[in-house]
């Protein structure tokens, strides 16, 4: 386990956790080519958990875990205390009628830049994985 922490649903706390995880990825040799994609997915996942999952309620926690699997894959799990949602029911932001809506693109971006994006049945826990170049 590279990182495991719970934090209050606050965007400044979220930014701090994001920076800590980025520092750990750097320290563990994740390549410059992979870092921006991972940061984007982390930002989207944390923002969804804090804003949509926990509704910015500081009494609710977000739990984040990060692992390096088989020395070549970064796996991140983000869990909120919200009721969860069904990602299949989220309107497709790439449909013509949704193109000018200002939100709803986080999942599309995570799926584009990560190798795998999964939700648990309740929809309050996200896991994303990316195979990375790791500098020894």
């Amino acid at each position: 386990m590279l990182f495991s922490q719970s934090f209050s649903s606050d965007l400044h706390e979220s930014a701090s956790v994001q920076q800590q995880i980025m520092d750990i990825w750097l320290k563990n040799g994740v390549s410059d080519g992979d870092l921006p994609d991972l940061q984007l997915a982390l930002e989207e996942g944390l923002a969804n958990a804090v804003k949509h999952g926990n509704q910015l309620n500081p009494a609710k926690q977000v739990k984040v875990e990060c692992q390096l699997v088989d020395d070549c894959m970064i796996r991140v799990t983000i869990e909120d205390e919200g009721p969860g949602f069904n990602p299949e029911e989220v309107p497709d932001p790439t449909d013509f009628e949704n193109l000018d809506k200002p939100s709803g693109r986080g999942i599309v971006l995570m799926r584009a830049f990560m190798d795998e994006v999964l939700y648990n049945d309740r929809g309050n826990q996200l896991t994303f994985c990316k195979r990375c170049s790791i500098n020894a």
């Binding site: 921006p36 930002e43 923002a47 932001p93 000018d100």
Partner: protein, 118 residues
Amino acid sequence: MASDATRLDVQTNDGVTVARFIDNRILDEAVIQVVGDQMYRLVDDHGLKKIVLDFQSVEHLSSAALGKLINMKKKVDASGGQLSMCNLRPDLLKIFKVTKLTKVFDIHKNVEKALKAF
């Protein structure tokens, strides 16, 4: 935490404004808020009609930043103006392609080509 420091380098010549983003990553919520507010002021406070957003320095942006850009486009359209973008790196262009926002925004290779399109 983002400050209210200028996050856009703005230059206007011959009625066309080029606004260059200073940050290389527009991911952090606080940065996005300030960038959005500063973009909107170009239209709301300064009444600018022809605007080019220059992404030369930008390596990555999040879905929240895309939301600000969409609102900016709506604002410019509503004022009867024109908004275009330029200098998107391949990684950034991928974000616009996967979200199909290439159909929404007028995207040019560089500032010169964006200016010629007005």
